[in-house]
């Protein structure tokens, strides 16, 4: 139970701080509305916001799926083919270095205004973390295991499938956690550049109509969604690599 209670308390505390700041500094509602106003609007427009939230959720999940698939495939190729490594590595670095804001309009022009450019953006933004983490894990396999496997007459494919990949899962999981955290950014930036639905779109619309409370309500829901996605993925990953020996500094006796 305390796993929920503690974050809940932190959350409520932040809400109080927010309300206090708005009241004490007399911040105008069109700059920063108080949490109560935001919650009221969120309830009043629950239907609309939920619909937009659904759109953005689909974009994020699709982006995560494609980015993970692409990233895993790239990492495997780079680990196994030297040629692939020299071609893919620059692509990888560039994908990370270019601010997605700059790429967004180009993607929109190519893919149109439907769901495709948003998924493309989310995919792009997680490609590097996933690939880099998984590749790193694949390269750092315990050499003793490889030695042992060779003395047992294992083929390269068997070593890859049964030793390198499972051994790389913890590293892969780290990359996936980063991906879960940043994929929402890709989806929303994609919506900002051109869309007709989604929380990012809704936020822009409300900003233009000077309905700041509604904009914050959408932002709120987006934040909650992003956090929920992260924790869902984190929980799944932790079960996947439950065999990892714990080295948590907090538990050292």
């Amino acid at each position: 139970m305390s796993a929920i209670v503690k974050p809940l308390i932190v959350f409520l505390g932040l809400m109080c701080l927010w309300q206090a700041a708005v009241s004490v500094f007399e911040i105008a509602p069109f700059i920063l509305p108080g949490p109560i106003a935001v919650i009221e609007v969120a309830i009043a427009r629950a239907d609309t916001i939920a619909e937009h939230a659904g759109t953005t959720l689909v974009e994020i999940l699709l982006g995560l799926a494609f980015g993970t698939l692409l990233g895993s495939a790239s990492a495997l190729m780079m680990a196994y083919f030297r040629q692939a490594r020299s071609w893919l590595l620059p692509v990888l670095v560039v994908s990370q270095a270019i601010p997605v804001f700059a790429l967004a309009p180009v993607l929109v022009l190519w893919f149109g205004y439907g769901i495709a450019p948003k998924v493309a953006m989310a995919t792009l933004i997680i490609y590097f973390p996933v690939t880099a983490a998984f590749y790193d894990g694949l390269r750092r396999t315990e050499p003793g295991w490889i030695d042992l496997a060779q003395t047992m007459g294992a083929s390269k494919a068997a070593i890859l499938r049964q030793i390198r990949i499972p051994a790389a899962l913890p590293a892969f999981a780290s990359g996936l956690r980063v991906a879960a955290a940043v994929a929402p950014i890709g989806a929303v930036v994609g919506e900002w550049v051109g869309s007709s639905a989604g929380l990012g779109y809704y936020m822009l619309l409300m900003n233009g109509r000077v309905q700041t409370a509604a904009m914050f309500a959408a932002l709120f829901i987006l934040a909650i969604m992003a956090v929920a996605i992260y924790f869902a993925i984190d929980a799944t990953l932790r079960r996947l690599v439950a065999w990892q020996p714990e080295a948590d500094p907090a538990t050292f006796s």
Partner: protein, 262 residues
Amino acid sequence: MNDANLLSASPYAPGLSVRNARLGWNGLELLSGLSFDAPARAWTCLLGESGVGKSTLLRTLAGLIEPLDGVDIWAKGATNTSNSVAYMAQQDLLLPWLTAADNVALGARLRGETPDSAKISDILERTGMTDRADARPRELSGGERQRIALARTLMENRPIVLMDEPFSALDAITRAQLQQLAFELLGARTVVMVTHDPFEALRLGSKIHVVRKGDNSGAVPFSPAGTALRDPTDPSLRGSYHAIMAALDTPKTPENQGNAAA
């Protein structure tokens, strides 16, 4: 003595001969002129200080690395390494995501064969690990993990077993238990064991070869009195121990000193 049924009536019991081996690591020569025989169905110990190249030697024998030159391996019936050698390292090398039983069956799994579950249960029983069969390595103690490693080595059922200081990371009591267990289970095979512990060599080896940095030509093996597995309380062991320690402390000749510079 009691694993004859595991080897059954296999006539194939190769020994190992090494002549004038020259080994290096990362381009540096570690040792040269090393010659020894590891007779079939006997336990041969290679004794030397850290860094002398014992692990490199073992890995060369296992076919994992190429020697600089001159390792002549099979005394009879040359076959390729992967069919004749089982390898047990200092780390247990258990795969953390597999259960103990699955780790024991690792060789079969890697080769795409169906593991023989009856044999696995039998070996787990012999190593005293039956009720830990479903545990993951992180739940096992150091001694338990080396037992599983031993079980895995047994499961491979190879005539030659190469061991690289497998018990050096354990506490003295566990180490003694495992030395005994290993000897009981593997004693009928050709075992080459690398160690830096003279006492362990005395307990387990029928022949002990001292390996030094640099030139090893002309080295003479030790044959301790009695038969392995030797009783640690046996007073004659003390004499052998002193002799070995004296051999280890032999200062290098001026010619060797030049080679040993690293």
